[in-house]
């Protein structure tokens, strides 16, 4: 079975390019059983949103308000 190190690697890779269908299937099975990796997956999207907001000066705007 896929372990968490491999699962997080695949979820990180998926931020650059879509995963192959069969890889995604293996990952989904892991995610169903692993709450840590399930949280990690949601955090990948959060990280991207945060970093892009930060790059656009979001934090500066918050300081001003």
């Amino acid at each position: 079975m896929m372990n968490c190190r491999e699962a997080t690697k695949l979820m990180s890779d998926a931020q650059e390019k879509p995963l192959l269908l069969k890889t995604r299937f293996g990952l989904e099975i892991h995610l169903m059983m692993c709450s840590g990796c399930h949280n990690f997956k949601e955090q990948m999207d959060a990280l991207r949103t945060m970093t892009r907001a930060y790059a656009k000066g979001k934090n500066e705007q918050e300081k001003e308000t």
Binding site: T8, F40, T49, A55
Partner: protein
């Protein structure tokens, strides 16, 4: 617009690009953050960005649009940064990434079978969007970014700040796709862990206070 006025339209588009203060301001801000992180010196970063902007403006006529302008601007900036780093004698070999960070041990995070160490298992983050409205969150975020090892920080910034795609980054830093993926994986693992420890779990601790 008629078909034969395409060239004219292109020129006009570039003109609009440079007249667009918000676009330039935005790109300047992104580059400045990037340069500051790479150089660890606000005034050197400011100089590098300024020079890159001037350089990019000189060649503005050759750009088809915003994305091309941004990529070009970033390429100039990267060279400026490389010059400064070389001068500072602490150049981290930008041309070919060595593999030392690739060999980094992940045993702090994962056990021998590759499963999460019990105290490292990611927890649910609650409401990240709400966090982003708090100025203290961004202080923590910035500190966590600063804590990334230099190569990881550099490629992560290229990917998520400058929004270059993987192929562009690989070309820029002469890295294979698989090495890039390894570096980005590590950067995300670290950044995630840092935010969780310094923000999410701290917040829970504070909530428990009377």
């Amino acid at each position: 617009m008629s078909a034969n006025s395409n060239h004219q339209e292109n020129t006009k588009q570039v003109g609009n690009l440079l007249a667009d203060a918000a676009f330039l301001q935005d790109i300047r801000r992104q580059m400045l953050r990037f340069a500051t992180l790479q150089l660890n010196d606000a005034s050197q970063a400011e100089d590098a960005v300024q020079e890159a902007l001037i350089g990019a403006m000189k060649n503005a006529a050759s750009f088809g649009g915003r994305a091309a302008f941004k990529t070009w601007m970033f390429a100039i900036l990267k060279n400026k940064i490389a010059d400064v780093l070389r001068y500072k004698q602490r150049m981290v070999n930008i041309g070919s990434f060595a593999h030392d960070e690739d060999d980094e041990d992940l045993s702090e995070l994962f056990d021998r079978k590759g499963f999460w160490q019990v105290d490292e298992r990611p927890v649910a983050w609650g409401n990240p969007v709400a966090s982003m409205r708090e100025s203290q969150f961004w202080v923590v975020f910035e500190a966590c970014l600063d804590n990334l090892p230099p190569k990881q920080a550099r490629v992560f910034m290229m990917r998520e700040f400058v929004e270059l795609d993987a192929d562009e980054i690989c070309a820029e830093v002469e890295l294979t796709t698989s090495n890039l993926h390894v570096l980005l994986h590590r950067a995300r693992l670290r950044l995630r862990e840092c935010l969780e420890n310094k923000w999410v779990l701290q917040g829970e601790k504070n909530d428990e206070l009377p």
